[in-house]
């Protein structure tokens, strides 16, 4: 990368870190800003090559699929319309690496959803044994059924965002936390 481009990148990264940290309350101290900046440069210099191919259409399809499977079909349609317009912008002033922008937004969106889901399961259900190694024993389900209808009342179904696709059942009245691998 040429020196002028390198300078531009540095300035942009400084601005990015400044803006991200400015959203925090209370505002971070100057040493914290310096640390964050060093950390940002470390991350950016350690991951130079993306793991997907630079295909805006493919990323767009992936996003549409995600929105549709989440039940947000109207959002999927709106996104599709927006992408069509976004992709049609070419020439001076347009975004050159459109695939990178879409992919970036997709990852940030997924990260936020994962963070929110993680917070829900750990904050609102603090007494549950999420690491219980016995949770793959299906006989618990059978035993719960044999104990009557009470076992299945007040149950909470959480679908984990974990890529290993665990479906977690909370049998509220029995305090049983069952986790079954779905693949």
């Amino acid at each position: 990368m040429e020196e002028e481009d390198q300078r531009k990148v540095t300035d942009l990264v400084i601005e990015l870190v400044r803006r991200l940290l400015s959203q925090q309350n209370p505002p971070p101290s100057s040493p914290h800003f310096s640390q964050s900046l060093r950390y940002a440069f470390r991350i950016l210099s350690s991951r130079l090559t993306p793991s997907v191919s630079p295909d805006a259409d493919a990323v767009s399809e992936s996003i549409k699929r995600c929105l549709a499977t989440q039940g947000n079909s109207s959002d999927a349609l709106t996104f599709s319309d927006l992408y069509t317009k976004f992709a049609s912008k070419n020439g001076l002033g347009s975004v050159n690496n459109k695939w990178a922008v879409l992919y970036l937004l997709k990852i940030i969106s997924a990260d936020r959803k994962n963070a929110i889901n993680g917070m829900d399961s750990s904050v609102f259900l603090p007494n549950l044994g999420l690491n219980d190694d016995e949770t793959e024993n299906d006989s618990r389900v059978l035993n719960a059924k044999e104990n009557g209808d009470k076992a299945w009342k007040n149950g909470v179904l959480l679908v984990s965002k974990d890529p290993r696709i665990y479906v977690k059942f909370h049998l509220g009245s029995l305090g049983i936390w069952l986790r079954k691998r779905m693949r």
Binding site: M1, D5, V9, L12, V13, E15, L16, V17, R19, L20, L21, Q23, Q24, P26, P28, S29, P31, H32, Q35, S36, Y39, A40, I43, L44, S46, R47, L48, T49, P50, S51, I63, L67, D75, T78, F79, L82, Y83, K85, F86, K89, G91, L92, G93, S94, V95, N96, N97, A100, V101, L102, Y103, L104, L105, K106, I107, I108, S109, D111, R112, A115
Partner: protein
């Protein structure tokens, strides 16, 4: 030049709208910085990692020997 500015504004508007649909929590200015970095060839995965680490956590970084602790 005016056409280029108009295209840039419209592209940013579209990207911002997409960003809101996806619930990224990014404001317009931050998004414009990220778009500029993507266009300069930076890895979007790395950029997303930076956003993830710095967007909400007040003090996510490991301590360094030269920085005194501020916690009483």
């Amino acid at each position: 030049m005016e056409e280029a500015a108009k295209t840039a504004k419209e592209s940013l508007d579209l990207a911002f709208h997409i960003s809101n649909i996806l619930g990224t929590g990014l404001d317009r200015h931050t998004l414009s910085v990220l778009i500029a970095l993507c266009d300069m060839g930076l890895n979007p995965e790395a950029l997303a990692a930076v956003v993830k680490e710095l967007q909400t956590e007040p003090c996510p970084l490991p301590p360094t020997p030269t920085v005194p602790s501020s916690v009483p």
